[in-house]
Symmetry: C2
Subunit: 233 residues, 2 copies
């Protein structure tokens, strides 16, 4: 890797824009972890934190990094200086912020979708982390088409989901980050997927990473070499 | 050129973001024409249209394409079906729209900064034109720094110019396009120049053009070959 900093790619995305799928496929191609909103969201949806911890770990089977992080942040959560209500949305957000910062600290490279990760890591100003904040969007016809195909629903339901989920994301972002989710100035690169397909979208991202000094074929390099080291006697 | 369509790159940009300079340098590198707001703006600032035509032509010395276009649109402007007030802002906008559409029609490739060109050409839906709509922006510290360096002014004056000019551009865009200038959904790619320099910004654009089927080293190809043909006996 040309750049020695940890690399964190955050992806904000309109529902149906293909941002999540692009992020997931790209992470797989690069050999790095992908953390998406749906997984992290469990922490704010479940009042039983213990169970959520396990579910989180379970859905990321073989991902030791999460266990490490959970051990690290658990005591933090129990500090009485934190809000008395352990499971208040604000407290869960603080927990998630801890998780996100720890991921950035521990992983040589990863992709995080949603969850205000762009905001949390911008604020953290971690010197050893290169942050690439992406936003993926598309026009309504494109998004309706994608939601119909992926979710197997009709036009009406696709429109309903797009409006509902985007409103939730916008409200969530405004509540915690205090900024407009759709404001491009929150991001380093905003990509419209109406005129390009998802493979091309991944190419745009990889080209951008190259510019930032990260060769896609080497991004997972340091992790792999550690694994190799471990397997040696 | 892999893609046989004419290529028009429009660049909307915040003042001090470096969008104009990037566009200008890129056009030079690609061997294509660059049209910026300041030149086109003359048409709306000058009430003497005839003089403006000459100034336009004069500042694009050796650029035959503008002469051709002006010949084409002049009669249009004189049609009585158009607004009685030849030099009203709305009429000048219509004239400029004609010029922009003609540029898209005539030039195998060009870059246009500002002037709602993205909106005008989106609306025109020209089948033989591939439109790439870019927006370039940056955070305030970056923009203040650039304006101070380029305009040779102090911080206070830099901030004043940024606010004033961006407000003009925003108002202009809203007046003619009826949309928010800073809304990313108007554009195909929105690039933040706070963390990358202008050469890297140009690289982002060239990478995107490659994805759209335009090899940067071949973009001016068809024009050159016409010139070569002409120089032959």
């Amino acid at each position: 890797m040309t750049n020695k900093n940890n690399l964190v790619i955050t992806i904000g995305r309109q529902y149906g824009s293909g941002g999540r799928i692009t992020g997931k496929n790209l992470a797989k191609e690069l050999g790095i972890h992908f953390y998406d909103e749906e997984i992290l969201k469990l922490t704010s949806e479940k009042s039983a934190i213990g169970e959520t911890f396990f579910r989180l770990a379970d859905e990321k089977a073989g991902n030791n990094i999460l266990y490490k992080i959970l051990d690290h942040v658990k005591p933090q959560l129990r500090k009485p200086s934190l809000d008395g209500n352990m499971v208040s949305p604000e407290n869960l957000f603080r927990f998630q912020s801890e998780v996100i910062r720890s991921l950035a600290e521990e992983e040589s490279a990863c992709i995080i979708a949603g969850r205000c990760a762009d905001y949390i890591l911008s604020e953290a100003e971690m010197e050893n982390v290169t942050l690439v904040r992406l936003f993926v969007y598309a026009d309504m016809p494109t998004r309706i088409q994608r939601v119909m195909e992926v979710d197997k629903v009709d036009v009406k339901e696709a429109v309903r989901r797009i409006k509902k989920i985007d409103k939730e994301r916008k409200d969530y972002y405004f509540y915690y980050a205090g900024k407009d989710w759709m404001d491009m100035t929150n991001y380093d690169l905003a990509i419209n997927t109406s005129e390009i397909d998802l493979e091309q979208t991944a190419e745009v991202i990889k080209d951008y990473l190259r510019l930032k000094g990260y060769q896609p074929e080497e991004i997972a390099g340091s992790e792999k070499s550690e694994e190799e080291k471990e397997s040696k006697p």
